[in-house]
Symmetry: C2
Subunit: 133 residues, 2 copies
DNA sequence: GCTATTATAGGGTCATAAAGTCTTTTATTG
DNA sequence: CAATAAAAGACTTTATGACCCTATAATAGC
């Protein structure tokens, strides 16, 4: 029960884009260098973010990644879901249907966390961001 | 990012103890049968619950496991922590200390979930419990 | 004190997932 | 068409989860 490191990278990459890249696309090469991770590995996460509609990719010379949506719209939950998927954190192995008591409690707890993450926008941190590393 | 199945078993075992076993110790054999899991595997989880102080073990003939604390005191969080550990769900790989912006947000989100799980006591479900399986 | 019962401890196995690399293909600019 | 950059897929390596097996320790009842 831990968030993957990929999520950590994705959050940092997004924080960088939101803070420092208003419109010019940023290459995976630059991002990977900043984050200290290989390009190919990071590109997998960025591709997921593209598929989730958070960023936009531009291939070819001077290409890279650029925000797609409004900065203020992108929440932590959006990024986490893009990387980790949206499946529930808990599945009762007995699966007695929707009345499952234990499941109800844990799902609701999860919802509490997600609600907080949804209300928290990545752009809120941009002001205090001093650069990675 | 998922709760382990061991947590699921532990929650069910505890629900059983709280619901059906007022004072007589219940053997791992019976519990394992009810839950449809091997004794040796289940016993590891029960041992963790013992170490966490939630239940008490009685070895020897007619031994087994019995609640230690007051039924009303045992929360979902207690059980989950006993099995999954209390480590944070998220660790920023850069570790810029306590001012880490991203970390602060995720930790707070986690706290929201844990608060809900702490307020939710396992005994609240006992009334509606119809037996496992 | 002996035996049956029951928990505890530790190691071993197998499967799945996470973390990361390499190579090829596709798209774009100039 | 040449250089650049993303996307896709196959692959390795490592870590974790989900189990099983066996030996040891404690206790109750005879
Ligand atoms: S919590 Fe209750 S309803 Fe849900 S699977 Fe377990 S026994 Fe069934
Ligand atoms: S979120 Fe900011 S402070 Fe925290 S590790 Fe990343 S760059 Fe450093």
């Amino acid at each position: 029960m831990k968030f993957s490191q990929a999520t950590d990278y994705a959050l940092h990459a997004m924080l960088y884009l939101v803070s420092e890249a208003p419109d010019k696309p940023v290459s995976v090469q630059l991002l990977a260098e900043k984050l200290g991770v290989s390009q190919t590995y990071l590109s997998k996460m960025l591709t997921k973010l593209v598929k989730a509609g958070l960023i936009q990719s531009v291939s070819g010379v001077n290409g890279g990644y650029r925000l797609r949506r409004n900065r203020e719209d992108i929440s932590f939950l959006d990024i986490i879901h893009a990387i980790e998927g949206t499946a529930s954190l808990f599945e009762c192995s007995f699966n007695h249907g929707s009345e499952c008591l234990i499941q109800q409690v844990v799902i609701e707890a999860e919802r509490q966390m997600e609600q907080y993450l949804q209300n928290k926008k990545i752009s809120e941190l941009a002001g205090q961001f001093k650069g990675i590393g």
